[in-house]
C-alpha cells in the first residue's frame, strides 16, 4: 500500500497536465453572448521585443540575452510564433533580461526622466507615484490599458520591495520586471468582441487591431498615437484606419517593418547558425555571414521601400550595396571610406537580383559544396510559395556518382531519370542548376572538377540560361507576386491562409499588379482590408469578459455560503 500512496503523491509532482476535456466540450463562443474571447496568443519575436523596448524606454537600453528559437511553419516564422509557448530555460533568459532592463530604466541616472513623479519618501513605498509609473509603461508594454487588478498586483510587488529594501526605486524595479515577464507582454494576446454594428459577428477589439498594424508596419508595439486611436475607437472607422496607416507607412520606421518581414520570408534567420567548412571556403567567417544578410536586406529595402520600384525587379536589378568583407568574396575592389557603398554588378559578373547575392547562395548550400536541389527547393518555396514534399524514405541513391569527377548536373540527371524521383526533382533541379556558376559560398566559378559547368535550364516548355535567365524567369512568373501577397497577409494575421481567403488573396494579387507591384502599397492595401481583421475563433475558447472574470468569485462564494452558514 505504501507503494500506491507513493504513486499518488508522485502524480501530483508532475507539472504537466493536458487540458481537461471540458474545454473541448464547450461550444464555440457566439457573439450574442456579449463577451470577449481571445482568438490568438502570438509569441513576441526577438526583433519585436528589441524594437518595443527601444521605443518605450529609449534606444540606449542594452538588451543582451539569448532568445528562444523560433519555428517556421507554413513558410513563415510569424505563423510558427502563433503556435509556440516558451520553455523554462527561455523563461530564465527573459527573467534575467527583464531584471537588467528594469535596472537600467530605474537607474539613478535614468530615473529623473523615466519615472514621472518623485516619491513622498524615497526610502519607502508610494502607491500614487508607483501607479503613475506602472499605468504609463504598462499600457505601452501590454499594448492596452492595464486592468485594475493588474495594477494592484504590481503595486503590491512595488510596496513589498520598497519595504524590504528600504528603497522606493528598488520596489519600482521589481514591479517593472514583473510587467516585462508577464505573458501579456511576452505574447500578443489577440482579443475579439461582439461587433456592435453586427451583433452576430465578432470583431477584433481596437487594441488588437492597433497591434496588428503596428507589428506589421513597424515590427514594434503601438505608439501613443496609435493607442489613442484605439482608445477613442477611431481605429474601427475606415477614416481613422486610413489616417493611421498613412502616418505609419510614411514613417522611417516602416523600414524596420519591411526588414522584419523580409528576414522572415527570405529565411535570413538561417544566418544565425550557418556553418561552412573553412578548409573549402577560407573566406567565410562571421563578418561575411552578417554582411551577406545585411546586403540582401539593404538591397531589398532600398529597391522596394526607398525607391518604390516594381517588386519583380528584385530578381533582375543589378543594383546592390557592398562592404569590405563582401568585396573580397565578390572579388571586386572596395574604394569607399564608409562601411557600405552602393554598387552595380557588371554584366560579366553574371549577377543580377537577390538570388545572385551571397546570402541566398550560401544559405541554401552545404557546408562544403553548392546544392542545386536545395537552392531549387528554396526558390520555389520562398518566391512562388510551392512546397516540395520530403523525399521518400527508401530512395535509392546508389547510382549517384561520387563528387570528385564531373559536375553536379550529371549526378542529378540520375534523379530526373528515375520515375519516383522525377516528379519532384524535375521542377526543382533546373532552378538550382541555373545557379551552378556560384559555389557554396556564392563565389563565381565556371568549372567543377575540371569540367565546364553548364547552366542551361529547362522547365517544361520554358528554357533559360544561368542566374540572369533564372531572374528573368521569376520576374515574369505570375506566381511570384501572388506569393508575396500571400506572405504579407499570413505574416500580418499570424496564420496560414485558408480556403475562405483564396478569393480575397486573388483580388489582392490583381490590385497589386494594377498598382505596379509596389510593396508599400500592397502592405497598406492588405492592412486596410476587413479580411486583415477577420476573426477566427479557436476551438474550445471559454468565454468571459474582464467584468465576468472579476465577478466570477461571487458565484462560488454563494455556494460556499450555503455550505458554511
Amino acid at each position: 500500500m505504501a507503494g500506491l500512496a507513493a504513486v499518488g503523491a508522485l502524480t501530483l509532482v508532475g507539472g504537466f497536465a493536458l487540458v481537461t476535456s471540458s474545454a473541448a466540450q464547450t461550444p464555440p463562443p457566439k457573439p450574442s453572448d456579449g463577451l470577449t474571447t481571445k482568438v490568438a496568443l502570438r509569441r513576441v519575436t526577438e526583433t519585436q521585443y528589441r524594437h518595443t523596448i527601444a521605443d518605450v524606454f529609449g534606444p540606449e537600453i542594452k538588451i543582451s540575452a539569448r532568445f528562444e528559437p523560433e519555428q517556421r511553419v507554413d513558410m513563415l516564422l510569424a505563423i510558427g510564433s502563433a503556435q509556440l509557448s516558451l520553455t523554462s530555460s527561455g523563461f530564465e533568459q527573459y527573467f534575467a533580461l527583464a531584471t537588467s532592463i528594469s535596472d537600467q530604466v530605474v537607474s539613478e541616472k535614468q530615473r529623473t526622466t523615466s519615472v514621472p513623479c518623485k516619491p513622498a519618501d524615497p526610502a519607502g513605498a508610494d502607491d500614487a507615484c508607483a501607479r503613475r509609473f506602472l499605468t504609463a509603461y504598462g499600457e505601452r508594454l501590454f499594448r492596452r490599458p492595464l486592468t485594475e487588478s493588474e495594477v494592484l498586483a504590481r503595486l503590491r510587488t512595488a510596496a513589498a520591495g520598497a519595504k524590504q529594501s528600504g528603497d522606493f526605486y528598488a520596489g519600482l524595479k521589481l514591479s517593472l520586471t514583473s510587467l516585462l515577464l508577464a505573458p501579456e507582454f511576452l505574447f500578443r494576446v489577440e482579443t475579439a468582441e461582439p461587433d456592435p454594428a453586427n451583433p452576430q459577428e465578432f470583431r477584433l477589439d481596437a487594441y488588437t487591431k492597433a497591434s496588428r498594424l503596428s507589428f506589421l508596419l513597424w515590427d514594434s508595439a503601438p505608439d501613443q498615437e496609435l493607442l489613442a486611436a484605439a482608445r477613442s475607437g477611431a481605429i474601427h472607422t475606415q477614416d481613422g484606419l486610413t489616417k493611421q496607416l498613412n502616418r505609419m507607412i510614411s514613417s522611417p520606421r516602416f523600414e524596420d517593418g519591411a526588414r522584419a518581414f523580409f528576414t522572415d520570408m527570405l529565411q535570413l534567420d538561417g544566418f544565425e547558425n550557418l556553418v561552412k567548412d573553412p578548409t573549402i571556403y577560407p573566406k567565410f567567417n562571421q563578418t561575411v555571414s552578417d554582411s551577406a544578410k545585411e546586403q540582401t536586406l539593404r538591397t531589398t529595402v532600398d529597391l522596394l521601400v526607398d525607391k518604390r520600384r516594381d517588386y519583380r525587379d528584385l530578381f533582375t536589378s543589378n543594383e546592390t550595396f557592398i562592404n569590405r568583407p563582401l568585396a573580397s568574396v565578390y572579388q571586386i575592389p572596395f574604394a569607399s571610406s564608409g562601411d557600405w557603398a552602393p554598387y552595380t554588378f557588371p554584366l560579366s559578373s553574371e549577377r543580377s537580383g537577390i538570388l545572385t547575392e551571397v546570402a541566398f547562395l550560401s544559405l541554401f548550400a552545404h557546408p562544403g559544396s553548392s546544392s542545386p536541389t536545395r537552392r531549387g527547393i528554396k526558390v520555389r518555396e520562398i518566391f512562388t510559395c510551392q512546397v516540395t514534399p520530403d523525399p521518400p524514405a527508401d530512395v535509392d541513391f546508389s547510382k549517384v556518382q561520387a563528387s570528385t569527377t564531373g559536375t553536379v548536373r550529371e549526378r542529378l540527371l540520375n534523379h530526373m531519370g528515375t520515375a519516383g524521383c522525377a516528379s519532384c526533382h524535375r521542377p526543382i533541379d533546373p532552378l538550382g542548376l541555373a545557379l551552378e556558376h556560384f559555389d557554396g559560398l556564392g563565389q563565381l566559378r565556371t568549372m567543377e572538377n575540371g569540367a565546364a559547368i553548364d547552366v542551361n535550364a529547362e522547365l517544361g516548355s520554358v528554357k533559360f540560361e544561368g542566374a540572369q535567365g533564372l531572374g528573368q524567369y521569376l520576374h515574369d512568373n505570375p506566381r511570384v507576386p501572388a506569393c508575396l501577397v500571400r506572405n504579407v497577409f499570413a505574416y500580418g494575421v499570424g496564420r496560414k491562409p485558408d480556403a475562405q481567403d483564396a478569393d480575397y488573396l486573388r483580388g489582392q494579387a490583381t490590385a497589386f499588379a494594377n498598382d505596379g507591384y509596389r510593396f508599400p502599397d500592397l502592405v497598406v492595401q492588405i492592412a486596410s482590408s476587413p479580411q486583415f481583421f477577420k476573426v477566427a475563433v479557436p476551438n474550445g475558447a471559454e468565454r468571459t469578459s474582464l467584468a465576468a472574470a472579476a465577478t466570477a468569485p461571487l458565484k462560488t462564494s454563494k455556494t460556499s455560503e450555503g455550505a458554511n452558514p
Binding site: G14, S85, S89, F95, E184
Partner: protein
Amino acid sequence: MSSFFDRRSFLRGMLRRGTAVCVALPVLDQFLNGNGVAYADGAKIPVRFGTYFWGLGLTDTPTGGTRWVPSKSGPGYEIMPELESLKPVKDKVSVFSGFRAIGDGRPNLVHWSGHASILSGVAPGVSGRFDGPSFDTKIADAIGTSTRFKVIDIDASMSRQPVSYSTPTGVTFAMPETTPLALYARLFGAGFQDPNSDNWQPDPSIMLRQSVLSAVKDQRQALMSGVGKSDQIKLDQYFTSVREMENQLAIQLEKPEKREACAVPTAPKDVPHNASVDSVRANTKAMAKLLALGLACNQTRVFNFVHTAGISEAYIAGESKIYHQITHDEPTDAKLGYQPETSMLAGLVMQAFGDFLVELDGIKEGEGTLLDNSLIMAFSDTGYAKIHSIENIPMFLAGKAGGRHKAGQHVHATGESVTRVSLTAQQLIGAPVGEFGTGSMRTARPITEVIA
C-alpha cells in the same frame, strides 16, 4: 499520451507484467534515496537520468554487413568496429539491436519518425512535431524538482538551428545550450552556490525576485479565461515555467547539501564555430565535462544531450560532402557489404559518446562513479541511414542506475518496438510507468534481462 504516469496505466501495466517485473518497484523510494547507495558521510546519492542523441544511425546493411550489432546476445558482448569507443566502459553499457519504430500507416518522416517514436511513443503525423510529450519531461517532473535546474538541455552540434527533442507538449521544444561557455554560465555562473562552501549565506535579493513572480501568477485566472484550447496549453507551459523558476529560487534559499564529488570548474574558452566531426567531438567533450560536474555538484539530475541533429551537418574538414550526403550517396562496397566511408564516420561520431561516458565515469561518487549512479538512454533517428530505415535503430542504456541496471549486455529483438527500450529506461530510473506508447508501439513489456 496524457495518461502515462497515471495510476491506472501503472496498475494495468503491473497486472500485465505479472510478477517477473515487480522488481521495477517500489518506485518513489528510488527517486528519494538512490537505492541505498551513500556517500561516505551517509548522505544519499541520487540517480540521474539523461538522453543522448546522435544523427544518422549506425551501419547494419541489408546485405549483412553489420558494423555495430554484436553476434551474440547476453552479457560480455564483443566490441564491434563502430562501438570501439565504448570499450573502456562496456560493462556499464547495454546494447539494444533489432528494435524498430512502427508507424501504423503513418509515413516514415525522414530523420524524424525514429526518435519521435522513441521519445513520445507515437509515430508523429508531421515533421517538427511530436504527437505527445517526450518522456524525459515526465522524469524531470518527478526527479528534477529538488535541484536548481530541473533539466539541462545541450546541443553540441554547432550547426543550423540548435535542436532539442525534449518537449512537454509536442509543439514547443527545449532551448538547448550550444557552447561550453554558455553551459558554464548557466551551471556555474550567477546564482551558483558551492555546495561545499563553509560560509553559505542566503542571498536576500532572491526573496525580492520571488515577489516579481507572484504578481505574474496573480493574473493567471484572468488570462486563462476566454482562451482557445491550444492557447491554454501554451499558457500552461508558460505558468509551468514560472513555477519552475519559483522552485529554483526556493532551492537557492536553502543551504545546499555537501557534495564530495563536486569540483567547481573554471570558465572554459569559447570554441570555433564550425561543424567538422573533430570540432563537434571537441565541443561534445567540453560540454560533457561541464555537465558531469554540474551533476556532481547537484545543479541538475536530468539532461538531454544532442551530439548531432537528425540531419547531421557534420563533415570531415576539406570534404565537399557532409556526412548526411555521404550516407545516401556512397555505394555499398560489394566485397565489404557496407559503405566504408559512412561506417568510418559513424565510428568517429560514436567516439564522442564514448568520451561522454568516460567523463561521467571519471567522477568518483561514494564507492562508485557518477556513471554508476546515472542512466543514459542513447539513440539515433535511423537504423541504416542510406534508406532512412527506422528498423533496427541503435539504442543503448549506459550507466548502472544506482545498481538497478544489469549493464554490459546485448539484447537483440528483431521487429520489436523501440518503446520497449524507452519503457525499460523509465522503469530503471524508477518511474511509476507500467506501459508506454500507442498503437502497435504500445507496450507493457520492459526488457527484464537488464533490470536487476
